[in-house]
């Protein structure tokens, strides 16, 4: 319990720091919100009036307080370019991206864990070399390359999956999955490399432990020894890395959603940045940061569930 409270406390503190940084950085950026709204040719008096009504002339600390207050009460402001309430907009796009995040991580783990285990079990043999070559190939080529390959192979030649677009999950969930699959696969291949290496190295360490020999001495089958006794011990660090990769994923998702014209969070961020939609940028950054933090918290709690030794701390 103490551990969970500790972690929650630090998450809240970090989120608070993130709001300050986000707010600070977006306000230092050149560009005037009022001018963005009214256009560069507008009347200076009208501009000034808009600034007044938006509160842009207030001291920064007051503006920050207002922003935080709004964030806390669910009033996230209105997007300048989409003319829509930001909270609503973000929720919709975040859901679309969540499909990609979950799917790509599932693909990455589903490939990486068996590959890493396989490499560790056959350490320094051809299986190990194959596994590390595959992993290296995944990481050394950028994800957009894989994206292009996916489009060529699965959309253009085979025609199994659509090459672009997005379907609202409320209307056609299977359609959403079909549209999300190729970008997810492309991202998953990039994520897989690290996870494979991590699985291999933790498994190698665990397989040399005495309790593995003890498990074999009990007459347990190799399958039980490797997939239960060893993997239960080795999976923790792999999941931790996967959690950290969620943060990295938000970076690459921008490119990938753009490539596949998939209108999710990445696509939204791209639009917001391109058009200097400050309120939207601030909210997006905050949401991404919060999601990354909470994912990592969830991962750490999962780790606690897996490894009883951490419960004491």
């Amino acid at each position: 319990m103490t551990y969970i409270l500790n972690r929650l406390l630090s998450v809240i503190l970090t989120l608070f720091l993130i709001t300050i940084v986000t707010f600070g950085v977006t306000n230092i950026l050149p560009g005037d919100v009022a001018m963005m709204i009214m256009g560069t040719q507008s009347n200076p008096e009208a501009l000034e009036g808009l600034r007044q009504s938006l509160g842009l002339n207030d001291p920064l600390i007051v503006q920050y307080g207002r922003w935080i207050g709004g964030m806390l009460t669910g009033d996230w402001g209105t997007s300048l370019i989409f003319k829509q309430p930001i909270a609503e907009l973000l929720l919709q796009k975040a859901a679309a991206s969540a499909v990609i995040v979950v799917m790509s991580m599932t693909i990455a783990l589903a490939l990486a864990v068996p590959l890493g285990v396989w490499a560790a079990v056959h350490r320094d043999k051809w299986q190990d070399t194959t596994s590390s070559t595959t992993a290296l190939l995944g990481v050394s080529l950028p994800d957009f390359f894989w994206g292009i390959v996916m489009i060529l192979v699965f959309a253009r030649w085979l025609g199994w999956f659509p090459s672009s677009g997005f379907v609202d999950p409320a209307e056609d969930f299977l359609g959403t999955l079909r549209h999300a699959f190729l970008p997810s696969l492309a991202l998953g291949l990039g994520l897989m490399a690290h996870l494979t290496r991590m699985t291999r190295s933790t498994m190698t360490g665990i397989l040399n432990q005495e309790f593995i020999r003890v498990a074999r001495a009990k007459g347990l089958s190799e399958r039980t020894v490797i997939w239960r006794y060893a993997l239960a011990n080795a999976i923790g660090p792999v999941i931790t890395i996967a959690g950290l990769q969620i943060g990295y994923l938000f970076g690459s998702i921008i490119v990938m959603e753009f490539l596949f014209s998939y209108t999710g969070m990445g696509w939204l961020t791209y639009q917001a940045l391109l058009n200097r939609d400050l309120p939207l940028i601030q909210a997006t950054v905050f949401v991404v940061a919060a999601v990354v933090m909470l994912t990592n918290l969830a991962v750490d709690l999962l780790y606690v569930a897996i490894d009883p030794r951490i419960r004491l701390g």
Partner: protein, 607 residues
Amino acid sequence: MNAPAKPIVSVDHLRVEFPTRGGTVIGVEDVSFTIAPGETLCVVGESGSGKSVTSLSLMRLVEFGGGQITEGALTFARADGSTLNVATASPEVMQGVRGNEIGMIFQEPMTALNPVFTIERQLTDGLILHKGLSQQAASARALELLKLVRIPEPERRLKQYPHELSGGMRQRVVIAMAMTCEPKLLIADEPTTALDVTIQAEILALINRLKREKGMAVLFITHDMAVVAQMADRVVVMYQGRIVETGTVTDIFENPQQDYTRALLAAVPKLGEMKGKTAPERMRLIGDEAARAAAVAPKARKPEVLLDVRHLTTRFPVKGGILRRTVAQVHAVEDVSFTLNVGETLALVGESGCGKSSTGRSILRLIEPTSGEVWIGGRDIRALSHHDLRRARADMQMVFQDPFASLNPYRRLKDQVSEPIQNFGLATGQALKDRVEQLFDRVRLPRAFMTRFPHELSGGQRQRVAIARALAVNPKLIVADEAVSALDVSVQAQVLNLMMELQEDLGLSYLFISHDMAVVERVAHHVGVMYLGRIVEIGPRASVFENPQHPYTRSLLSAVPIADPRKRRFADDLTFKPITSPIFPLGHTPAPSTYTEVAPGHRVLHP
């Protein structure tokens, strides 16, 4: 062992090879022996002798370590009356034998249990697998097993995880695990090496009782001749992958035929053999008669105090809560006082966690003591500034247990030995080079080793380098923290003799921290017995060993196995009191240590 029964295992001309990139390495060669039901066969040997390879071959576990059985037969009499050649059996058949008909106990209780599964799960999975029991029936049996190995509060242990149990309890769980299916053969591979001596005594007694009650055969692998003397019916002595000698335990100990066996036995200190002697004596090493002669006449010295430790106390904070505040303290060293004379050895003995290492480190201020005084050569080390402390450390050096960890793997040995000389600016250029050469001569290492790296040396050679490095700055005091504990017995004897020789020649004082009572009896002038951070008994070695007064000293001495099969001690289970926790709440002020003098210089802590 009259009228030998049909053996349960017979090993014939076993040969195990390990294919490596550098060619094939032979693990064992031409190894043959048999084990009868109800018999304990001890396989004894030093590191690299192939004793573990032999035991792993019997389980066919050797192939998981990259080994291959290339020759020989391992015939095992199965429960159903048939025989099985383990060397050629299919992996599936072996899975049915392992843990079912052959049980195995390993060395490291701390790592032998899977840390993420409960004790119950680890005890029951073998039963479910081999005996087809339901989870419920298996759990009931697991509870019985924990009672069989006499674990306190067995019901609670089932639901616990390994890290919640002490080392002794974990080893009991490992033994219970090996016993789950009532195997006909129990293989114990160094089962007590990692344990404290009182816990070792309990585990040895437990194995003996189980063997007697269940009529098992036991294959007991160990490097410790004293344990062999206590446990074995018959003994196999191994050296470099081959059997040197086989015989009954009394034959091996009293009438060894081979030089290697004789040398091995000679190198083993026997507790009690120093009775009636006051000064330390070098180890008998075959082929080292010169050292023996030199040891006959120890120089008489006028007692002169070098190190005077007064009321030394060291506590470590225990952090807890959301703000990581100090919530309690570990009383690692509690009001410890003693003196050490020039040219003498004071041994601090005790079990793990008793504070002996913390005491040694506190004296050098490698960890900061909480209070007390440490006088050496007229200066209080505790009162020195950091600059002066650095200077003062030239007088006091340390030798650690693991020479592989205490030497830098990336630096040549001569650079590591010369480093302290350069740090203190004691010599440069040719003088430095000469000094390093002298030091290598001094610890009897060839000068050719000077340009080598640590991994090119054996354990004993590495420890000699560590000693040379400690000697480099002409210290007056050397704190040797378990300095010979990781070494093979014959190497240990050589290093001990070297240390004693250096003491006589250079007038060094040793603070000799050790858990090994037999070694301490051999080397120490004075002995301090530590328990829960305090010295419970201290005095001249002869007085403490021959007339122990404190109950803890007595139980410690009674737990030490003696390398003499005619002095067997562990008839049945013994129960030593578990050591209580040295963690106390903040603000707890323990009573000062007060002593009664029971003989000249021999003091015992008031209860």
